[in-house]
Symmetry: C2
């Protein structure tokens, strides 16, 4: 199982414009093969800082997500509202280190 | 529901020393009142960068966690192995913005 944190930094005055795009991305992604969890949150101390908390069964499932129609359509549009580059952290469970 | 990401930056050569402490902290915390999810992961691209992905029912539950015996005992000990200050991000679901 692969964990991903994907972070967007949206211009505060563009948040209302981006929410419907996020809503659609979350809805469609949660139905994807191998998507164990896909939750979008926002940082209480940094307006416009959105964090996707993702869990994927396999790397292949994640690749399919990235090449999906909705990702390829929505993410470029979302990125037109960003003030900083997005950040991605790939993680495994700490139990895999024991 | 409150989301927390708590990040530790452990010296790479101290990882084996800290794992048993993490193991105990995760085990005991997952049994706590209002702990909806408490997962410890490690960053695949930054050795020693550990990320706790947490979901708490209420702020009060989180406060109880921080004042719990195991937190007060284990976290100071874990912190003796860190190379950078820990980082905390508090989030809510993006649905609360819609």
């Amino acid at each position: 199982m692969l964990y991903i944190i994907a972070e967007d930094f949206i211009h505060p005055d563009k948040i209302q414009a981006v929410l419907p795009l996020y809503h659609e991305l979350v809805e469609l992604t949660q139905q994807e093969q191998g998507c164990l969890s896909y939750e979008l949150t926002h940082d209480l101390k940094d307006e416009g800082h959105f964090l996707f908390l993702e869990k994927w069964e396999t790397e292949v499932d994640l690749d399919h997500h990235i090449s999906s129609e909705h990702f390829q359509r929505l993410v470029p549009e979302i990125n037109t509202y960003t003030r900083l580059e997005s950040r991605f952290t790939r993680m495994l469970s700490f139990k895999e280190m024991e």
